[in-house]
């Protein structure tokens, strides 16, 4: 009927999700310092962590934090909601477990294989999903991931209900033994940090700028002559690959790959981590992953109530706390984090 009434219903996808605090994402001048300090603090924490906390716990946290950051690359900066990211995480996990166990590949090659498989799946799912927008895109990713779940359930190499157990960690480059938790930790921490810096680079690159502009106003970018589908597909593949990196590492950390990692509840968990930490912030998903992973290990005795609590947090985040922990903090400080 008129611009005012329709505008309320047709906010461009993703902008409202990520752009709750516009100043937060449309920075660039002076944004470096807040994030720079935070990243240095993060690196310091990574060095200190294995001396203070059980290394497997920290590695688990890092895998999920990287997974959440990869998901956030797609949602927070691309404005695309996937409910199927477990597919990339889970299949990468299977791949690196299989590569390590059945083919005897070294850890770096197993992880690379998992990452590559995830990227290929990302290309496949992404090229289908971006043919629709908004909630349809979300439903398509969910449906395709569910299809992947059924494949994983039936395909012989995944071990079905049993999963792939007893995955050897091997020796880095065939020489550096990483079978102890403490030695594997440095590999995981290093790859995690590399993943985070890589995403930061992507977000601040010209590609990232165009991506954010598409998120904020897709029709405008189309009319300016940008091939928006290519940008969407590329960020989808990047996000899938980095999710795969996280999943591949997780298989080596736990020496186990299972159906849990490809099921849709895992896609839900990564959304929750990102939401609670702060969509569209660099550090939010890390904080969110820390909150959820810690809560899960402390509350595991509650059994089925954990799922109820997760659902309640989900609802509360959407209704009351859409900026998440880091988003809210960044607002208070007046700078992006």
């Amino acid at each position: 009927m008129n611009a005012a009434t329709t505008a309320t219903n047709t906010v461009t996808s993703g902008r409202a999700l990520a752009g709750q605090a516009p100043g937060l994402l449309h920075e660039d001048a002076g944004e470096g310092r807040g994030q720079g300090i935070a990243l240095i603090a993060l690196a310091a924490a990574l060095v200190a962590a294995p001396f203070l906390v059980y290394p497997v716990f920290v590695m688990k946290l890092l895998c999920f934090a990287l997974f959440a950051c990869a998901f956030n690359l797609l949602l927070g900066f691309g404005g695309l909601l996937s409910i199927g990211h477990a597919l990339f995480f889970g299949f990468a996990s299977y791949t690196s477990a299989h590569a390590s166990k059945a083919w005897g590949l070294t850890p770096e090659l197993s992880i690379a294989a998992g990452t590559l498989v995830a990227a290929a799946l990302g290309l496949l799912v992404g090229s289908l999903a971006i043919r629709r927008q908004g909630i349809y895109l979300a439903m398509i990713t969910l449906a395709l991931a569910q299809m992947g779940y059924f494949v994983a359930l039936q395909a012989p190499f995944t071990g079905g209900e049993d999963g792939i157990q007893g995955v050897p960690r091997g020796a880095l480059l065939g020489v550096l033994d990483v079978s102890s938790d403490f030695s594997l930790y440095w590999l995981v921490a290093g790859l995690f940090m590399a993943g985070i810096l890589c995403m930061r680079r992507i977000v601040h690159s010209p590609f990232g700028q165009v991506l954010k502009a598409i998120r904020d106003n897709e029709p405008r970018m189309v009319s300016l002559g940008y091939k928006v589908d290519r940008y969407k597909l590329l960020v989808f593949v990047l996000s899938a690959a980095l999710s795969g990196l996280a999943g591949a590492m997780k298989a080596l950390v736990f020496q186990f790959a299972s159906l849990v990692d490809v099921y849709w509840t895992m896609s839900g968990e990564v959304i929750l981590m990102t939401l609670i930490g702060g969509v569209g912030t660099i550090l939010g998903p890390i904080v969110g992953a820390a909150v959820i992973v810690s809560a899960q290990s402390y509350l595991s005795s509650l059994g089925a109530w954990v799922v109820v609590a997760q659902g309640a947090i989900f609802v509360a985040c959407v209704v009351l706390f859409r900026k998440g922990i880091v988003g809210t903090l960044a607002d208070r400080l007046g700078r992006p984090l």
Binding site: L81, L128, R131, G134, I135, A138, I271, V306, G311, V318
Partner: protein, 295 residues
């Protein structure tokens, strides 16, 4: 015994019937999703959980109040519909001005909560629910044996879909609904209570899901997970058919149920994925969905 491609006809018809029953659930659920989406712009992820809640309500009514199937078929949708009123007023109404994706996230959380609560209360294993005595046994149709209850499920689903179509397309309240789907603000300037209409629409949509849940209770065991995997398939159905048309949603639902049933005969391992494959093919050939309009 007659065969087609080496498959006995009776087996084939049996699978078509199972397909029709699954298709009936796809149709009712995607119909509810489409009606809710049309007015609320929300994809109700909790739809599967509320379908499950409908089945559990029937089970609880039977085991704790002695109310049987026919009573449950009326009461369970009403009770779940009331829960829908609470959900809409308390939660959904706060996010209408936000991006549609928030609706998906909110109802995703709701689905986890509802499913989790039933798991806490009833455990994860299935609970049996008997088919009504009036519909026990079966009828020999000559070419196949039709269990009476299954025949009833298909007939009742078709009736409910037709009834929903009639209310939306042929009644005054349906005209309000269609108009509000196009331009809620303008409808409000005629003095029509659009927020109430939204609440009732959500309640009616989830009541449909609960109705399907009651129908499903005697066929599948009643368990907290019964709605989760189903709703994902229904999402694929909705992507294939698009949510623009009531008839489209219903026809797509039934048709895909039958295709899935036939796939079970031809290649059993693929039957759980065939709808997703069809979705992928439709996305390649006709990205807007079979009944979707090019925007």
């Amino acid at each position: 015994m007659a065969t087609v491609f080496g498959i006995p006809l009776a087996v084939l018809f049996g699978q078509v019937l199972i397909g029709l029953i699954n298709g009936a659930f796809y149709a009712i659920l995607s119909l509810g999703l489409a009606v809710i989406f049309g007015l609320l712009n929300i994809i109700n992820f909790a739809h599967g959980a509320l379908y499950m809640a409908g089945a559990f309500t029937a089970w609880i009514l039977l085991n704790h109040a002695g109310i049987g199937f026919w009573g449950a078929l009326v009461l369970a949708p009403l009770i779940v519909g009331l829960a829908g009123v609470v959900i809409e007023r308390l939660l959904l109404s706060r996010i209408y001005r936000l991006d549609h994706l928030y609706g998906l996230l909110l109802t995703f959380g709701l689905a986890l909560m509802i499913t989790g609560l039933f798991r806490v209360g009833f455990g994860s294993s299935g609970l049996p629910y008997p088919a009504p005595a009036e519909l026990s046994g079966g009828t020999n149709l000559g070419f196949m044996f039709l269990p009476n209850y299954r025949g009833f499920v298909v007939a009742a689903s078709i009736l409910v879909c037709l009834g929903t179509w009639f209310v939306i397309e042929r009644t005054r309240i349906g005209a309000y609904l269609r108009a509000a789907t196009e331009d809620p603000d303008l409808v409000q300037t005629f003095g029509i209570n659009v927020p109430l209409l939204i609440t009732l629409t959500y309640a009616a949509g989830v009541a449909l899901a609960a109705f399907a849940g009651v129908l499903a209770a005697p066929i599948y065991s009643v368990n907290p997970g019964m709605g989760q995997d189903l709703i994902i398939v229904v999402f694929a159905v909705v992507v294939i058919g698009s949510m623009g048309s009531i008839a489209g949603a219903v026809v797509t639902g039934f048709a895909l149920g039958v295709v899935e049933g036939l796939a079970k005969v031809a290649w059993p391992e693929a039957s759980s994925t065939v709808i997703f494959v069809i979705m992928a093919v439709v996305l390649l050939l006709k990205p807007q969905g079979l009944f979707g309009k090019v925007s």
